[in-house]
């Protein structure tokens, strides 16, 4: 896997369109993984995004697409790929190294960007966020707002674990089921807020982690 993936470094920095034949070759290979190669492709892409978010979060989606493009080209060239997930990961690791070599270190003054100051613009932004949050909570499925508030306000550490266990017990759910429900609701909420704020600002909706 590593040797094959290493060959891809020669493509570093190039942004070639994935040819139709390479894409078809990849889908053909993915057909071996399950009944729907399209579903496997999307699964691979989502997992690659999750991997890239660990290392190069601001480019996660673009790099996931680039990794799949490279993988398709290798498959099309006849490279045998035994495990598509690990092969994609190998390409992903190379892309992370390339990306780090290219990029200038981003300033961690980002911390300030999470805080609202006392300028008029910040006050307006804070109120807009608050309004969007309230509206989006209203739009959650019945009981969703209650669940999300309770699930995510249980403190930290062992206290949080215990409160979530009690919450699951009260609701008659397994802890995993409760966790997945809360996570889905939180994703819905944050996507909704992002959409509302983008609509307010007249900008395109930003990417969210759930994209």
């Amino acid at each position: 896997m590593t040797a094959d993936a290493s060959a891809d470094t020669s493509n570093s920095g190039r942004s070639r369109e994935l040819s139709e034949s390479a894409f078809q070759a990849l889908l053909e290979r993915l057909r071996e993984e399950g009944p729907s190669p399209q579903v496997t492709y999307e699964t691979l892409r989502k997992r690659l995004i999750a991997f890239f978010r660990l290392h190069v979060p601001t480019q996660a989606e673009a790099l996931a697409d680039e990794a799949l493009d490279r993988m398709a080209r290798r498959v099309h060239e006849g490279t045998p790929v035994r495990n598509v997930y690990l092969y994609a990961l190998g390409i992903g690791r190379l892309l992370v190294r390339e990306s780090r070599a290219r990029s200038v270190r981003e300033d961690t003054a980002a911390r300030d960007a999470t805080l609202f100051g006392d300028t008029e613009a910040d006050v307006v932004a804070r109120e807009a966020l608050h309004d969007a949050l309230l509206a989006c909570m209203d739009g959650l499925p019945p009981d969703g707002a209650d669940l999300i508030v309770e699930y995510y306000s249980g403190g930290s550490g062992v206290v949080r674990i215990e409160k979530r266990r009690q919450l699951a017990e009260r609701r008659g759910l397994a802890l995993n089921a409760l966790r997945n429900r809360a996570l889905r609701l939180r994703d819905m909420l944050e996507n909704c807020i992002a959409q509302r704020l983008a609509a307010r600002d007249g900008s395109p909706p930003p990417h969210t982690e759930d994209d």
Binding site: T43, K46, R47, L48, A50, F51, R53, L54, P57, T58, N83, Y85, L86, A88, L89, E106, T108, A110, R111, A113, T114, L115, F116, G117, D118, V123, R126, L129, H130, D131, L133, L134, M137, D138, L140, P142, D143, G144, A145, D146, I148, V149, E150, Y152, S153, G155, S156, R160, R179, N180, L183, R186, L189, E190, I193, A194, P206, H207, T208, E209
Partner: protein, 284 residues
């Protein structure tokens, strides 16, 4: 394949795992859908912990270095703070304004709590309110139920982020101002709005030591250095991941204008803190 623990996932997110263990987890992430869900779950808890100041110094620095560079994460931090504010208001709901709940049509219809009715922005000048517009301040309101004249009192809820000024038809509301230890920031004064006639303002100042045997002295001075208020023998309180000392300051003593708040341990060798605060009346 054994599922990774939350601690392992958190360490992966913060880039604190040895290389080989990180690579093994990444392989699991690529091959196991559950691991991706678990990772996203842990990332959400991590964002919440960062947003609410629950991380230790090392974790906080790692979070800022590896996650906060992402605009999506920065937005999530803001949402986490706002969500926490809502949760805290909800916890205070019965004491703050029982009338709103009792008359809520949606509540009567068995719907979800009336979220939209919460942010009733107070404009009335008779309302005692505080808006911590500053980044270093958090505001928590609660009904004014016979405030004790003590300078030390545990909180029913951890301090929450400031958002708006609360119900406009509630009189006698007591404001709380929270000053965070890591946001003292040079000479820049943070604006706090306190309505004229405020009875008492609860001031919470974060410390970095949870040693309960320590006592602190808290003082408020004006621009000329004149002491407006002081309290001694304040003991640290631990709540919601914060350690702070607390004092009730008469609103009349706080007044308006630039103020310096100092928190000094009554023992040698322990860090002291200073904040600049600009106390103003609410805007009309």
């Amino acid at each position: 394949m054994i599922s990774p623990t939350p601690e392992q996932l958190r360490s992966l997110l913060l880039h604190r795992l040895p290389e080989d263990e990180a690579q093994r987890l990444e392989e699991q992430l690529m091959q196991d859908a559950d691991v991706a869900d678990l990772l996203q779950h842990e990332r959400t808890d991590l964002v919440d912990d960062y947003a609410l100041g629950r991380l230790g110094a090392d974790e906080r620095a790692a979070f800022e270095r590896h996650l906060l560079v992402d605009p999506v994460i920065r937005q999530r931090v803001k949402v986490a703070r706002a969500l926490h504010d809502i949760a805290s208001r909800r916890a205070d709901e019965p004491r703050l304004d029982g009338r709103v709940q009792a008359s809520s049509k949606s509540a009567a219809a068995g719907k979800v709590a009336p979220w939209n009715r919460w942010p009733v922005r107070a404009a009335a000048v008779f309302v005692v309110c505080a808006v911590a517009v500053a980044v270093s301040m958090r505001v928590n309101k609660e009904a004014d139920v016979a405030p004790p004249a003590t300078a030390e009192q545990p909180l029913p809820q951890p301090a929450v982020d400031a958002l708006d000024t609360g119900p406009s038809d509630v009189t006698g509301t007591r404001a709380s101002i929270v000053l965070l230890a890591d946001l003292q920031r040079g000479g820049e004064a943070r604006i706090v709005r306190v309505a004229p006639g405020a009875g008492q303002v609860r001031l919470q100042a974060e410390t970095t030591s949870s040693d309960s045997s320590l006592s602190y002295r808290l003082a408020v001075t004006d621009e000329s250095g004149a002491r407006l208020f002081s309290a001694e023998d304040l003991r640290p309180i631990e709540s919601g991941g914060y350690v702070f000392v607390e004092a009730l300051i008469p609103g009349a003593k706080l007044g308006t204008g630039r103020r310096t708040v100092t928190l000094e341990p009554q023992a040698p060798g322990v860090e002291s803190f200073t904040w600049q605060v600009d106390v103003r009346p609410p805007p009309n």
